[in-house]
């Protein structure tokens, strides 16, 4: 997570804006390359980190995927920058979860002793 945040900070400083990706193609890649296996089909995490909402810009995201920490790193030979851009666009399109405050069951659980 620290590494993730570090890249997040770097990404904020990154000035170059990447072209917008193709979210539809990104979804195909997200499934084909098993991103879902750690991050869930909805990007809300599981064995891996939550991707939604995505805190990085595209350059930061690409940089992270190339030099990931606990997560396996993906080289440009495996996934091009353009493909990562498409995956990034797909992740950005995924809906966020409702807030815990608006989920009655979670609120009930919080009240239990």
């Amino acid at each position: 997570m620290k590494r993730f945040l570090l890249f997040s900070a770097c990404a904020v400083l990154a000035s170059a804006q990447s072209p917008a990706g193709d979210a539809k193609h990104g979804k195909e890649l997200f499934l084909t390359y098993s991103c879902y296996s750690c991050h869930s089909f909805d990007g809300h995490g599981g064995a891996g980190a939550r991707l939604v909402p995505m805190p990085l810009n595209q350059a930061g995201f690409t940089s992270f995927v190339r030099n990931a920490g606990r997560m396996p790193s993906y080289s440009s030979k495996v996934l091009s920058d353009a493909q990562l851009g498409d995956i990034y666009a797909y992740i950005k399109s995924l809906p966020t979860s409702p807030d815990a405050k608006n989920i009655p069951l979670i609120q009930e659980l919080l009240k239990e002793k």
Binding site: S34, S40, G46, I103, L109, E112
Partner: protein
């Protein structure tokens, strides 16, 4: 021999190929068939092989017997077979159930159990695979705290059972196994009886059984049977195997009936008092102690003792593997943020090395109490690693806790007691904070389809929390969401994992645990992974047939998900794409319809559920059936983890 007629047909092999023609064949006169085959009707019937090595069509006599044809009337009657006496011995052990897949090596004992023994104590449960029999016994023992019996057919059944035996061995769980054999080569017929027998049958699983024996007389059987039970139950528990020769079962009892020895249960080993005093001193002097408990609480008393110890020390308890400590106790967890333990008390921890390394790196002391240190074997590496720790007590942790608690009370000063209270005052809010954060994390993916595991477990909780419930499945593949959302405060509310990580354990262990829960009127629920179920799904039929109430909720992520991640990681390590990680790891194309599977085995099944809003109505329908005493399954298509 108890029967005048024996045939030599592979009972599991031939039926598939030969059943179609069986009816016509058995209609033919036996003598004529025998003449055609050149083998006398009462003689051994060797398996015929084709040139390609496959089994040829069995003889007519063999087919007649195996397809329901009536064997010739026996030339003699055995009024008092040895197997009747064996039943008397087994009954003396108060074993409630035995699970078995039928086999001829124990046919005499089988008949004695159901007729002479009236199919009570133990009651015969039919299973479709020996692995299911042993894993059922595994789950049963975790709830009931005592062994169930698995009756196993010769070397073929024992090899089927072997993985479940290994799981139970590594999980330190008592299992009582009896396996049939044809030991006497002079009486053993060629063919199946030879193929299903062994010179040293126990050797097949000796590396991961606690003890085995092959009694040669009925007196010997009695000693072995009673002793085996005691050994299985003595901590650390484990599976024991009694090889029960066919001749001993089927020969008549000669002379007077041998005495049945009474069961004398060996007391568990308790820690040496000098070492216990030293442990007490280390724990009292510690500023930030922690307790790690794995296979510690063998019984509900173990939980009570651990709560007493934790409250006495005001130390956090990190409970793993078993139901050792109430999940919502203020001392449950790993302490406040940044809590750096200076003494770790490990109770029945499987491999001490990882914690010892952490402790050493921060200058902390490590105490270990485990009875496993007393029972090492050589081959299987389940005993983990050596670690140079500060205090290693070779004793059963639960049995040692009373002495440790007393010693701490004796050494405790008023100053230290005040320090403990101050620590406890900081730990309680830290626990509450961590608990609330865990619950709030359930929001992520709450509305997603496939269904998130947090949502699945969250929706289950209100439906069961007012019942006397028991989770009879492992939480390792479901991110421990029940632990994070439910309130576990009773020993029987969780059975833990496989022991050795062997898949195929989950479904039968759940059925076995639900069987144990049945007489207590508890509601058993299982969150069942799809990969595990497909090893031996026939246990669903066992649950339906024997009316074992169990709600199975499928965690159907359509694959061996852990392995998807592993293959993906390897692909990236090799600088290749993970786009083929699904090969060999996924269970799709076609998707498996678990609702239909459940229905096929005779239980209520519905699904697949993909919309989380459909969960609660389906769960309620399933629970209604389970509360009536039947099993039910709800198939939920889930996020990977």
């Amino acid at each position: 021999m108890s029967k005048s007629k024996k045939t030599s047909v592979d009972r599991r092999g031939f039926l598939k190929g030969a059943a179609a023609g069986a009816a016509a064949l058995v209609a033919k006169p036996e003598l004529a068939n025998a003449q055609q085959s050149g083998v006398p009707p009462n003689g051994p019937q060797p398996i015929q092989h084709n040139a390609n090595g496959t089994a040829a069509q069995p003889s007519q006599v063999a087919l007649a017997r195996e397809t329901g044809g009536r064997p010739e009337a026996s030339a003699r009657v055995i009024e008092h077979p040895g197997s009747d006496y064996m039943v008397d011995v087994i009954k003396s052990l108060n074993i409630e159930y035995l699970a078995a897949n039928p086999g001829s090596t124990y046919e005499s004992l089988h008949e004695s159990l159901i007729n002479y023994g009236d199919n009570k104590m133990p009651e015969f449960l039919t299973v479709c695979h020996e692995e299911s029999a042993v894993a059922m016994a595994h789950g049963y023992a975790k709830i009931e705290g005592k062994p169930m019996m698995a009756l196993i057919h010769g070397d073929i059944g024992l090899q089927h059972a072997s993985m479940a035996i290994y799981n139970a061995y590594c999980d330190r769980v008592p299992i009582y196994m009896v396996v049939g054999n044809h030991a006497d080569g002079a009486r053993r017929r060629p063919g199946v009886e030879s193929l299903h027998s062994a010179q040293d049958l126990g050797a097949l699983v000796r590396d991961y059984t606690k003890w085995d024996d092959e009694p040669l007389s009925l007196e010997h059987f009695a000693d072995t049977a009673v002793r085996g039970y005691s050994i299985a139950m003595t901590p650390p528990g484990g599976p024991v195997l009694i090889v029960c020769n066919h001749e001993l079962q089927s020969d008549p009892i000669q002379g007077s009936t041998p005495r049945i020895p009474k069961l004398t249960q060996t007391s568990p080993p308790s820690g040496d008092m000098a070492a216990v005093r030293e442990a007490a001193k280390l724990l009292i002097d510690a500023e930030r102690p922690q307790i790690i408990a794995q296979r510690m609480a063998r019984t509900p008393e173990g939980m009570t003792l651990l709560v007493e110890l934790a409250e006495l020390l005001q130390a956090p308890v990190n409970s793993q593997e078993r139901m050792n400590f109430p999940t919502r106790h203020p001392l449950a967890g790993v302490g406040w943020q940044g809590y750096q333990p200076d003494v770790t008390l490990n109770l029945e921890v499987g491999d001490i090395l990882p914690q010892a390394r952490i402790d050493r790196a921060r200058g902390a002391k490590t105490i270990n109490i485990t009875a496993v240190s007393l029972t090492h074997k050589s081959n299987i590496q389940d005993f983990g690693h050596y670690a140079d720790i500060d205090l290693d007590i070779g004793a059963d942790a639960q049995a040692t806790l009373p002495a440790l608690i007393e010693e701490i009370k004796k050494q405790l000063t008023a100053d230290r007691k005040r320090a403990f209270e101050a620590r406890g005052a900081k730990l309680a809010p830290a626990h509450k904070l961590a608990w609330d954060q865990q619950i709030e994390q359930a929001q992520y993916g709450w509305d997603s389809s496939p269904v998130s595991l947090a949502r699945l477990c969250g929706e289950m909780w209100p439906l069961i929390k007012n019942e006397d419930w028991s989770l009879v499945s492992w939480q390792g593949f479901i991110n421990s969401w029940p632990n994070r959302l439910w309130n576990f405060d009773k020993h029987y509310q969780y059975i833990g994992g496989q022991g050795a990580g062997g898949m195929g354990y989950g479904a039968p262990a759940a059925v076995g645990a639900a069987l144990a829960n049945r007489k207590h009127g508890r509601l058993s629920v299982s969150i069942q992974t799809d990969g595990d179920l497909n090893y031996a799904p026939g246990v669903l039929w066992t649950a339906a047939h024997h009316r074992i109430p169990l709600l199975t909720v499928m965690h159907n992520n359509r694959g061996y998900h852990q392995e998807v991640m592993f293959v993906e990681e390897q692909a990236t390590l090799h600088n290749r794409g993970a786009d083929r990680a699904h090969i060999g790891t996924k269970l799709w194309d076609p998707n498996i319809d678990y609702a239909k599977m459940a229905q096929a085995y005779g239980m209520h099944g519905e699904g697949p559920i993909t919309d989380p809003n459909d969960l609660v109505p389906a769960l309620k329908r399933g629970l209604e059936i389970v509360k009536k005493g039947e099993p039910a399954m709800i198939d939920v298509v889930t996020q990977p983890r």
